[in-house]
């Protein structure tokens, strides 16, 4: 198992270096002189030239990238904000708990709805419940999160007055965002759980379990569910990653002060190190979540474990 984990971590490193290269390149080609942006409109030509030299902006592209990558991978130095001069990494880290909580509560809502509905849909295929659940799931997949968020604010906050419409300071603030992002992820998880369960309950060993007189609940919970949930775990991991990426939109809708909103504001103010750091930070978290899911997969699927014994 350790060999498997080691291999996965080793595979992650080149991917992360690649991500850092792409993100750096994107910011490099962004129009505008970083020195001029940092100094503001009143800066003189000489000041700009001085700062350019100080920042190493006249160096060749590859030298600049190497300096950036060394900083990121050896000292977690993502540079400094053009706007506040604060360390980008510290800024991101201070907002990370908010973004992480948002994604995590979303996933909890998604799993709490998606798995049970998916199981019932599969065991009662083509029933009224199944058809209704699948229709809702399809609608759930089709509603943009940001529109769903606006509708939720309109109904539950503006009209009913039950929840606050913006901010993220109390548990009451967390309910609407979690429900908003959770229900669309729930739709994906429901569809995946249903199709995975349907595949499993057609297998011979389920027929055997039924033939030997097991109760249906035991057949479903003990025999089918265990195997059906393996692919669902991957989807949950992916959903978690998408929610982290989608935080940019959700945080904008609910005015939540996480990494997403920080990035949107930084893009508007051309604070490139912050944007660069934000993308890299979320990609890193996304990759780590996927790594965790892969490792978890190894634990729950004995076939993978057996390969690396």
């Amino acid at each position: 198992m350790l060999k498997y984990i080691g291999r996965r971590i080793l595979l992650l490193l080149p991917v992360l270096i690649g991500v850092s290269f792409i993100v750096f390149t994107l910011m490099y080609i962004t129009p505008g002189d970083p020195a001029a942006i940092q100094l503001g409109e009143q800066a003189t030509e000489t000041q700009i030239l001085q700062l350019r030299e100080q920042m190493g902006l006249d160096d060749p592209f590859i030298v600049q990238y190497a300096r950036f990558a060394r900083g990121v991978f050896t000292e977690l130095d993502f540079g400094r904000s053009y706007r506040t001069n604060a360390l980008v990494f510290n800024e991101l880290l201070s907002r990370f708990p908010t973004t992480l909580t948002l994604a995590a509560t979303g996933v909890i809502v998604a799993v709490a709805i998606g798995i049970p509905v998916g199981i019932i849909s599969a065991t009662k295929q083509y029933s009224l419940f199944d058809n209704a659940a699948m229709m809702f799931a399809l609608i759930g997949v089709s509603i943009p999160n940001f529109f769903q968020g606006l509708v939720a604010i309109l109904i539950f906050s503006v009209w009913a007055g039950w929840f606050p419409s913006s901010g993220y300071s109390t548990p009451m603030h967390m309910i609407l965002p979690a429900l908003t992002i959770g229900t669309s992820s729930a739709a994906m998880i429901t569809r995946m759980t249903r199709s995975s369960m349907l595949e499993v309950i057609r297998q011979d060993y389920i027929r055997t379990a039924r033939a030997k007189g097991q109760k249906e609940s035991v057949v479903i919970n003990r025999h089918a569910l265990k195997n059906a949930l393996i692919p669902v775990v991957t989807v949950i991991g992916l959903q978690f990653g998408y929610l982290l990426g989608g935080a940019v939109l959700t945080e904008t809708v609910f005015s939540i002060n996480g990494i997403g909103l920080l990035m949107v504001n930084s893009i508007k103010m051309r604070d490139l190190p912050m944007v660069q750091g934000g993308v890299l930070f979320i990609a890193l978290t996304f990759s780590l979540v996927n790594l965790f899911v892969d490792i978890l997969y190894g634990f729950i699927d004995p076939r993978i474990k057996a390969q690396y014994k």
């Binding site: 994107l26 309109l154 979320i282």
Partner: protein
Amino acid sequence: MSPNNDNDKNKDLMDRGVKPKAKDLTGDTAVVKNYQSQTEILSHPGEVEDKDLDVKSITPPKRKSQWAEVWKRLIRNKAAIAGMIVIVILLLTAIFADFIAPYHYETQNLQNVRMAPNSDNWFGTDNFGRDIFSRVVYGSRISIQVGFIAVGVAMIVGGILGSVSGYYSGRIDNVIMRLMDVLLAIPGILLAIAIAAALGPGLVNVMIAVGIASIPRYARIVRASVLSLRDQEFVEAAKAVGANDFRIISKYILPNCMAPIIVQGTLGVAEAILAAAGLSFIGLGIQPPIPEWGAMLSTARIYLRDAWWMSIFPGLAIMFTIFGLNLLGDGLRDALDPRLKG
């Protein structure tokens, strides 16, 4: 049923004096024709010519193409039909926007600012007194353009990368696929945001951003399909007659792996429209006064408390479009590969 069985059945029918129906004649027609001609000559010598013509008319119909079968399966699926209807309505709206919309999308009426839906303005008016119904109607043009062009870009680039990767394997495959892994390590919407941030706002840039962010998915799908077909006999045969690699990939391999590409393409248009709307919503995409639905939602958000209609109608437009495309995409998947049907 084997051709021999068919022939036996047909002979049997004719022995009993029953004229076989065209659909029974799925076997070797030459044998049947020959057999019937002989029996007819023996029993009615004077009518040979006419009967011979009659036999010609019962030769089996041409075998239906794979696409006709797919179409038949697709139109049997009610959900897919519903999806198709939504998409057709959307396309017609986009084409005939000039005739459907009562006002131009830029026409302002500052005396009529933020009016609730009424008989003149079915979806109400926005903060500049512009008719929201007209803007939603014109918005369909933008969304369709973005959706199809972004997916087109992704399909072409992803398709080329995937084909090259799958066909040549080895080092080139490794390089391309590792690059795709890197792109996939950044959540799609975030990658699109980063690209849009670098390129700046605007319709074309949104298409490029969303298109590039979707490339890895097509590259992977095409690569997998090419890998599974590369060593098939018909490809060997094409190589043997001297076809070059480009011809083999474009004429022999790609047409055979269209099924997953079409499904992904349909669902991809939905995702592209969503991503473009998302980019415009946070101000990085299409800019006002162009009536892009996401951009309309972005402005509407500020007026959510006193003008809900400004948000609801553009939002519903996005939702129905995505819903239709998803229904059609699911239907196409079931029709193209019935084994996948859950």
